[in-house]
Symmetry: C2
Subunit: 349 residues, 2 copies
């Protein structure tokens, strides 16, 4: 099959790789219908993290089950399925505690598996799913084409935005500031709105992202950054600050900004993948009772809750995709994301 | 009046200072019936923080209202009252949000007030309370002598232990590890038990503290420290870890231990005053979705909730006092705490 590989910073290719085969009774093989490029894929692409040459890449996909192992019970050949950005069994203690990203049998798409082989990445034609019954969620029926981008966001960005909002304790009447106007930040706006937030402020200086943020539920947009941005955000909340700040970037600056913006006793819900060496002085939390809650989003635990609203069109998180390319043009997809010409690129194998 | 002053590390004295007087209509003057020495007082005593020479010290007291300003409505002369370890108005947005330690008119006992004068410390004969209606809580009637130590813990340590447990999300059925066997750590055990925790592990290597911890509700005690302590604690919870770790020390080592011990998706409730330079790598939280919640405890917000159980004897947090001295012997009180000859010393003016 054809799949995307990364060889060095800036060097992603479509290559011929071995077709996946069922290796245990719990496996499924899924034919990818849609995948996409994630902001975190850019870390390898930009050389912030060194990719292992030739490794597979991509971790968000929806598709159709092509084959299943003998022990698979929850999905059948022909089902349309959503996969989270990782594999998990959904039966271990951590999965049952709602933290399937810490599954005791967890693995990442594209990473080395227990045998030292590369697991399939999502930016390819097929993916072997090691724990099909845990990982995959089938849709009520085969979706219409225009629903597919929205379903694909349940694989990562909408679930991650939802995790930011839940981690920030967002609920009916909450006041919220969102830092980060990428796909995750925009989905965090949508998730906060869905959970009943009363006022949602998006920090953004990009017109198209501001516009989508407003359509997703942002009541205010602030273009200022740094100290000015903090002051402008607090000013909207009597200089005390909002109940929650959703940190969807991951840099030391954005975390500092989040902590400085939130009100005493409030919560920073953080989902931005932390930059190397990013640390938080405990004293900056202690005196004002600022809580930090978040991390790599256990989106598998959220799919059943979020799917109905996506399926019936109540929310349209797939609007974060502003460019669709064939898989063969994956290099251009990365370049468009890297240069911020696109918010998020959908890939069709 | 006589009051405790601190002049340098190791140098606390009883000195004659001006009697407090009503300075605004919202003031009350309280005659101190019992005060005590806090672990955080030792920071100045040990020179970890430089005390301002001649400043007042002590921040926990109960007493009798001696005089009130014209605008005071909630307490009357002769009332027995509990004061939190700070002054607050209980009407501002932060107080109403449950974070009275961030009161917009907040001040600390013993610190410089808005006029640059030293506020009264609690280790003295009288205290001027700037926001009497907000700060003071009167008891149902004048308490029996043996109830006074228990009431005094509502001024700080029992409320702070309760804050650790609440911050850690402790509730019915929770599994909890408590780091720190000082008065606050022991009160955190008691608070976790009161909130319905199912299993409570106290990290302690001091026999008398272990014994009191068990009486307060600890189901297990672990004497090991460092990596061995982490492994021993996790082993009690299927090597996954407890739902909550209550960090009641404040050193970088204890915070690292707390984060390493808690289960994925769990919460570190922290109330240990953070040591200078104590910082947390965001990566240590992100991958396992470990939340940090806590800070300087807004104990004033908890007094009404905790008082009934203290008043009727359901809980006996005052058992943390294992030494009582007259105020005149305050220097010996500090030495006994510093040398860990006493868990906590009660002072009688």
């Amino acid at each position: 099959m054809r799949a995307t590989t990364i060889h060095a910073a800036g060097d992603v290719r479509i290559e011929e790789v071995p077709d996946p085969v069922l290796s245990t009774g719990r496996d499924a093989i899924v034919r990818v219908v849609a995948a996409c490029v994630c902001g975190s894929d850019l870390w390898s692409y930009r050389g912030v993290r060194d990719p292992e040459p030739g490794s597979r890449i991509g971790h968000e996909f929806v598709g159709v089950v092509e084959a299943i192992g003998d022990d698979v019970e929850n999905v059948a050949v022909g089902d349309f399925v959503i996969a989270p950005f990782y594999d998990c069994d959904m039966t271990c203690a951590n999965c049952r505690n709602g933290v399937s990203t810490s599954c005791l049998e967890h693995s990442w798409w594209g990473s080395r598996d227990h045998f030292g082989d590369f697991a399939d990445g999502a930016q390819g034609e097929f993916v072997r799913v090691p724990h099909a019954d845990g990982t995959l969620v089938k849709t009520p029926e085969y979706p219409a084409d225009d629903l597919i981008p929205h379903l694909l966001t349940l694989s990562d960005v909408f679930g991650t935005g939802h995790h930011a909002a839940l981690s920030g304790g967002v609920g009916p009447g909450s006041t919220v500031v969102v830092i980060g106007d990428g796909a995750v930040g925009l989905c965090a706006v949508l998730a906060a709105k869905r959970l009943g937030a009363e006022r949602i402020v998006l920090m953004s200086r990009h017109e198209s992202r501001q516009a989508l943020g407003r359509e997703f539920g942002a009541t205010d947009v602030i273009a200022e950054r740094g100290e000015e941005g903090i002051a402008a955000a607090k000013a909207l909340f009597d200089d005390i600050g909002p109940d929650a700040v959703l940190e969807c970037v991951g840099t030391p600056e954005s975390m500092d900004q989040a902590i400085a913006t939130v009100r005493p006793g409030g919560t920073v819900g953080f989902v931005g993948v932390p930059a190397e060496g990013n640390s938080v002085p405990v004293g900056s939390l202690f005196g004002r009772n600022v809580a930090l809650r978040g991390g790599v989003a256990p989106v598998r635990n959220y799919i059943e809750e979020l799917l109905p609203d996506v399926w019936n069109g109540t929310v349209e998180p797939g609007r974060v995709f502003d460019l669709t390319l064939p898989l063969a043009e994956v290099a251009e997809a990365y370049a468009a994301m890297d240069e911020r010409r696109a918010i998020k690129v959908l890939l069709k194998p």
